[in-house]
């Protein structure tokens, strides 16, 4: 009797775990099915090469490039902010700072990542853009620069926390050896510790990029709703995620080509983040026990 009860419990717990497989299966099928229907009407070649995205207008173009460049442009700006700052923080905390400082600062930095993104969007539009307009007179009200900078601030903890963990895991002997030869902390940090922890640092960067690419609210509020193929950070653009929000706010009939555009956009987004996440997982697993 007990054995049956144990078995039943084990199987119910298994079912819960299998739900996670169901979710992945669900995401992939939903995206794939609607995207497949989309591509039965729009050629894949056009999708990747057309330079205009005007699926809702008379002169329909279904090129994903404008949305893609919008996404990559804002993410690039975000990483340019988060990478140097995040890395410097991690090196400072790991190699210079006293233990007590590190203990209090780390949770505070993680607070940056806990703030809801709609709040960051508010800052970008209401505070950062007007401020930047003083410095750059022709800056549009909607632009990728403000959104990118604020996004960068948000993902600083992604870079700093994981990098710091990686640096911290490097054995002290390596540092001692370097100091023994007369190197400063700076030299030790950059010539010994960082290369040793490089895989962990790279993982943190990849995850930060993935997070930036998938971000929605900051760009939906502050970056604009105009799909255009440009690298100019001062003009309105539209990211993949903002497009999905724009269409969802209106009504698009289930089954129409317009409805399917959000899934075509969605699957592009999913493929990018999936590749990045898989890459970071592989690197993490591969280099994990290097110094055991």
């Amino acid at each position: 009797m007990r054995k049956i009860k144990e078995l039943v419990i084990e199987k119910s717990l298994l079912t819960s775990a299998l739900i996670t497989i169901a979710i992945t299966f669900g995401i992939i099928s939903v995206l794939a099915i609607e995207a497949f229907r989309f591509f039965s009407e729009v050629s894949i070649f056009d999708f990747f090469t057309d330079t205009q995205w005007t699926p809702l207008f008379t002169d329909k173009h279904y090129g994903i490039l404008p949305l893609l460049t919008g996404t990559l442009l804002t993410s690039f700006i975000a990483i340019s902010v988060a990478l140097p700052i995040g890395l410097s923080i991690s090196i400072y905390l790991s190699e210079y700072a006293p233990k007590s400082f590190r203990r209090t600062i780390k949770p505070l930095l993680e607070l940056l990542a806990a703030v809801p993104t709609v709040v960051y969007g508010f800052f970008a539009l209401i505070v950062v853009t007007p401020f930047l307009q003083e410095i750059i007179p022709n800056l549009s009200g909607f632009n990728s620069l403000s959104a990118g900078i604020v996004m960068g601030i948000m993902i600083i903890p992604y870079v700093s926390s994981l990098s710091e963990d990686a640096l911290h895991a490097v054995p002290g002997d390596l540092r001692e050896a370097s100091f023994g030869m007369g190197a400063t902390r700076l030299q030790t940090a950059f010539k010994v510790v960082v290369p040793a922890a490089s895989s962990g640092i790279i993982v943190s960067i990849i995850l930060a990029i993935s997070r930036a690419i998938g971000e929605t609210m900051i760009v939906a509020i502050a970056a604009g709703q105009q799909p255009r193929l440009t690298l100019d950070p001062t003009v309105p653009i539209e990211t993949i995620t903002a497009f999905i929000v724009q269409v969802s706010l209106g009504d698009v009939q289930h089954g129409s080509i317009e409805y399917r555009t959000i899934f075509a956009a969605g699957i592009t987004l999913f493929v990018f983040t999936f590749l990045l996440n898989t890459l970071s997982y592989r690197i993490r697993k591969k280099y994990q026990e290097k110094y055991e």
């Binding site: 210079y96 969007g121 999905i244 969802s248 999913f270 983040t273």
Partner: protein, 284 residues
């Protein structure tokens, strides 16, 4: 200056740079929050919390959004908490180290990195259309539950991993079965860690906007949900809607609503950290 002195100087300069960087993020956050407080604090009063949205900024309030957020929070907890903990328990206590478990692990790690808006698309197709739940609180909660499930599972696994095997062995030695051991020893011991993870996950859910927009939460809903199939709005969407309205009065409202949202978020994070510290001390 010889090279030794040069190196020492660079070392000191980097130290200063490091401190600056560390503080930059926090200082900016303080500036932002300060700005929000200045913009919105005076707007918060009892009528703001109990008023329905209105076309006039002074009369607009967050009542329906707040109720919607509370509904979402409760439903999401009811759905995600048991499923997440159960899955975590299975993976940690029953999972054999075979390819299947490894597959599950990779899968969960991937799900944690999927952008939240994709979960919105999934929820739209499955819960709103196929299961015909419409743009209801239930559909929204189910969507958010899927989103935070990986977080709860990982937190559960970490907490359970931290329970020393000596406790399990002692329990088996007394003749307890596997499940009795888990239910009576392992879970209570890891409870603090699990709770921390769940609260952090829920704190994330409260602040989510994009998936709920895709699922169809409206911005003009002048009543609180009375059953799980009602339409709804939540605090972040109300903020988003008010930000889009350029009149100064609505920006003030948005700031005030943000203060309330941040208050809820920080309280939840604070409670979670409190539990984490309490639980970690137990093992010292």
């Amino acid at each position: 200056m010889n090279s030794i002195q040069k190196n020492r100087l660079k070392d000191q300069l980097f130290k200063v740079w490091g401190i600056v960087c560390t503080l930059i993020g926090l200082i900016l956050l303080v500036i932002f929050i300060g700005d929000i407080l200045v913009d919105g604090l005076q707007r918060i009063d009892w009528s703001f919390i109990t008023s329905l949205p209105s076309r006039k900024a002074e009369k607009s309030g967050i009542y329906t959004a707040l109720m919607g957020s509370i509904w979402i929070l409760l439903l999401t907890t009811i759905i995600a908490f048991p499923v997440g903990v159960a899955a975590g328990v299975y993976l940690e206590e029953y999972g054999k180290n075979n390819r299947f478990s490894a597959l599950l692990e990779i899968n969960i790690s991937n799900l944690a990195g999927v952008p939240s808006i994709i979960y919105g698309l999934l929820g739209l197709e499955v819960f709103v259309r196929i299961m015909n739940l419409g743009a209801s609180v239930l559909a929204g909660s189910l969507t958010l539950s899927l989103l935070i499930l990986p977080i709860i599972i990982v937190a559960t696994r970490e907490s359970i991993k931290a329970v020393p095997n000596s406790i399990r062995d002692a329990s088996y030695a007394l003749g307890a079965s596997k499940w009795q051991t888990i239910w009576n020893q392992v879970l209570p011991a890891s409870g603090g860690g699990i709770l921390t993870g769940v609260i952090l996950a829920l704190s994330r859910a409260v602040g989510e906007t994009a998936p709920l927009i895709v699922v169809g939460a409206l911005a003009y809903v002048p009543f609180a949900p009375s059953n799980p199939l009602d339409e709804f709005s939540v605090l972040p969407i109300q903020i988003f809607n008010w930000i889009s309205r350029p009149q100064a009065g609505f920006i003030e409202n948005a700031a005030a609503a943000i203060i309330i949202l941040l208050f809820i978020t920080f309280i939840m994070n604070g409670i979670a950290v409190y539990f984490r510290n309490k639980w970690q001390k137990k093992w010292k």
